[in-house]
């Protein structure tokens, strides 16, 4: 059971209050009609699925209901950092 720090509640809470919401930084294409089927499929279905440090989205379902970003190791389950949504848009950004 993970212990997750919610950047909005500013408190660590049990995993049972949260729901995982998939890989982070998958932006909806700005003009879906303007891109190829491959690009659309990439957005809808394809994932990087990192082994190692992985940015993902969680939502504090039974708390403040905010979505936020978590960098977590998919090997050790250690949480390296959390960030409010929009605080960053890619893995490498500081």
């Amino acid at each position: 059971m993970l212990l997750i720090h919610c950047p909005y509640c500013k408190e660590s809470r049990d995993q049972s209050e949260f729901s995982p919401a998939g890989e982070a930084f998958i932006a909806r294409p700005k003009s879906p009609e303007g891109i190829s089927d491959e690009e659309w499929a990439d957005y809808v279905f394809y994932r990087t699925n990192h082994k190692g440090n992985h940015w993902e989205q969680w939502v504090h379902t039974n708390g403040c209901r905010k979505y936020f970003l978590v960098e977590r190791s998919t090997i050790s389950h250690q949480i390296l950092q959390v960030a409010p949504f929009g605080a960053r848009n890619s893995e490498t950004e500081l």
Binding site: C9, R13, S16, E17, N62
Partner: protein, 195 residues
Amino acid sequence: MTSSKENLIPKFASTFQPLIDQEGYLVNQSDLSCHEVVGKSLAILRTSKDHEKSKKDAKEIWDVALPKELSMTTNSNGVQCLWISPDEFWLLHSQQQKADIWNKIESLTIEMSMVDNSAAYGVLEFNGGKVNKLLSRWMSYDLNGSLNSGKVVSTTLGQAPVIVFRTAEGKLMMMVRHSFSHYVAGLLKDSAKRV
């Protein structure tokens, strides 16, 4: 043919009405009680992007200051304002105030959103030395260490989403979704047998 209906007095049933005893208790035993608080109304305020403006509007309508994370404020009329999320605040006020307040809201042009959710939640009050013992059977939150007076927390009781806040030492309030009231009452009564 119309008058018959107009003379009716609507029957209000509180959230826990079918589940409480005659004094309003769900649980009433030594050093542990839980009763329903009736007569409360709930308004949900979602602030607009312009948080400062919302703060002012809130002050004007409710005469409350918006609280910081996981805390609450109370105004002189006893309106309690609970922090739920950075842009969401719950205002607990008495049923008598409700009509006035909503009239006022409708007369103002505000950018934030306001929703009356009074019937959606029931309010329980817990008293006694064994409250944490009871609740820790169903809540992962650190009741002893972190739920101090004035603190507001949304979390779960079993699988039901609830809001808990401590208004004073030894006194804890809990807000429960109407549809979960049977479930929550069931859990509390069952566990109370063993604390």
